[in-house]
Symmetry: C2
Subunit: 296 residues, 2 copies
């Protein structure tokens, strides 16, 4: 089963990489520097957790691969744009990402800014260009992604994260921030994948997928905090230890490492429980395992 999962994952990672390569304008398309930077920020890096979640959720609703591919890549492009902007000097001012110099270091700040902006546009371009079972599903997916990306989702979470630097906050506030900053996009990946199916989701199914996505999104972040405190930069492919350095509140700073690990396990259990009555949920279940047991 595990080796089946590895093969499934490996195939879809290659599939995603090829699809992203196809969706992104070629590096010699004018303006070349911008397109080269967009490709640099997207291709050949990252764990592709969000696309994998979309593919796994698509299996729950028997969704055709082509359609899930568009949804999976759109979510990944939003994620990639957010990393490019988060790394800019006026934000986290980071120089290392996915084991390479960050986009504004490899190119320059204006190019990185515009590359991020353009990756966001491209995500919606792709979503609106791929035929789905119905245009109404199309619109529902675009709506999910737009809401998850904006000021009430990912960008809003990043704003709260910046406000929190040096502040004393509680666990509820930390969870709210992470729910926006990373949770909403992970939830969008799961729901968009499932929405690609031929039939609309039943309300109960949607609710269970939401519970799964919410729990696994938060678990992902808790483990991120643990890894930031315990792993090396080389292992992570990005600067380690920067939460403590920047005096950012984290699950580790609020709970300690052991309690944070236990919290991640509790969330994992909640996610797995939510899947039980859903059909074809095996890969969602295994992705939950992988998210909690990862070491990078």
């Amino acid at each position: 089963m595990t080796s089946d999962f590895s093969a499934w994952q490996q195939n879809l990672l290659i599939h995603t990489e090829l699809a992203l390569d196809r969706y992104l304008p070629a590096g010699d398309t004018i303006p070349q520097r911008l397109h080269t930077a967009m490709r640099y920020a997207v291709i050949g890096g990252g764990k592709r957790i969000r696309p994998l979640l979309a593919f796994a959720a698509g299996e729950v609703s028997n969704a055709p691969l082509t359609q899930v591919t568009a949804a999976a890549c759109a979510v990944e492009l939003i994620h990639a744009y957010s990393l490019v902007h988060d790394d800019l000097p006026c934000m986290d001012d980071d120089t290392l990402r996915r084991g390479k110099p960050t986009c504004h270091i490899a190119f320059d700040e204006p190019t990185a800014l515009l590359a991020g902006d353009s990756l966001q546009s491209l995500a919606f371009d792709i979503l609106s260009n791929t035929p789905t079972a119905s245009p109404a599903q199309h619109v529902a997916m675009i709506q999910l992604l737009a809401r998850a990306s904006g000021s009430l989702g990912m960008a809003g979470g990043q704003a709260i994260d910046l406000d929190n630097v040096g502040q004393i906050i509680g666990l509820a506030e930390l969870e709210h921030m992470h729910r926006l900053k990373t949770g909403t996009l992970i939830e969008a990946a799961v729901l968009m994948g499932a929405l690609c199916g031929d039939h609309p989701l039943e309300p109960g199914q949607r609710e269970r997928l939401n519970t799964y996505a919410h729990a696994i999104g938060l678990a992902f972040q808790v483990i991120d905090d643990v890894l930031d405190a315990t792993a090396s930069s080389q292992q992570l492919g990005k600067t380690a230890g920067k939460d403590a350095l920047h005096d950012k509140p984290t699950y580790v700073s609020l709970m300690g490492c052991d309690a944070a690990n236990q919290f991640a396990l509790d969330l994992h259990a909640e996610a797995i429980a939510a899947l039980q009555t859903l059909p074809n949920h095996q890969h969602l279940s295994m992705l939950a395992d992988r998210i909690v047991r990862r070491d990078a």
Copy 2:
């Protein structure tokens, strides 16, 4: 007729302002600083040329006002986000916009960056949330806006503009840059307005609207260059004379003021000619007049 046009314009400006106010999250929505900055960048400023073009184009296809309003506001939010990002220190480093301090001066750089990012998401959120005659029209509009905003449209034009600083370029290259930087979004405003109608546009109609939009978009930019060289900062509500200061190629630097003005008049004539066989094109025609005869 002119006073009718003034009343039409005045009513729609108020209508647009109220709609933008309604679409934007309230300033006391968490994260408050981000939402306040988004509102600051959008509300109470700008000529709203793009929304007016959308409303006027909607009349050609008898489009319902509610639907054109969503399209008009989505285009204006994309425009507003581009101004916030263009003004950032790593781009044009500007301090004055629409007669007020730029967003990153009034707030701070990270907030301005995230406000721009979130305004882009909000544009797609609004478009996907407003019912239109058909979900297929919905998707077509989202596609138009996404393409016009990204690396093959507005953001790409901005990248070329940055590359052009201090370079010697010809008129064809200047036109290509402006076509991307401002033309594509103006074309999107016109076509999206027209797409809100009950019936799909006939190919001939769409082509004529494209010709109009292309000509008027370029004319808008030519006049912008003339005004940057001849008007005061107070008159423009933004820093005047900065093209020459930054050694940017413009229609004025390449042709001189008189020839640039004549070029704008030729484009205006082309735009008006394209409208002739379209129904209810009066307001598109008058907007073309206004764009060429404006003094700010």
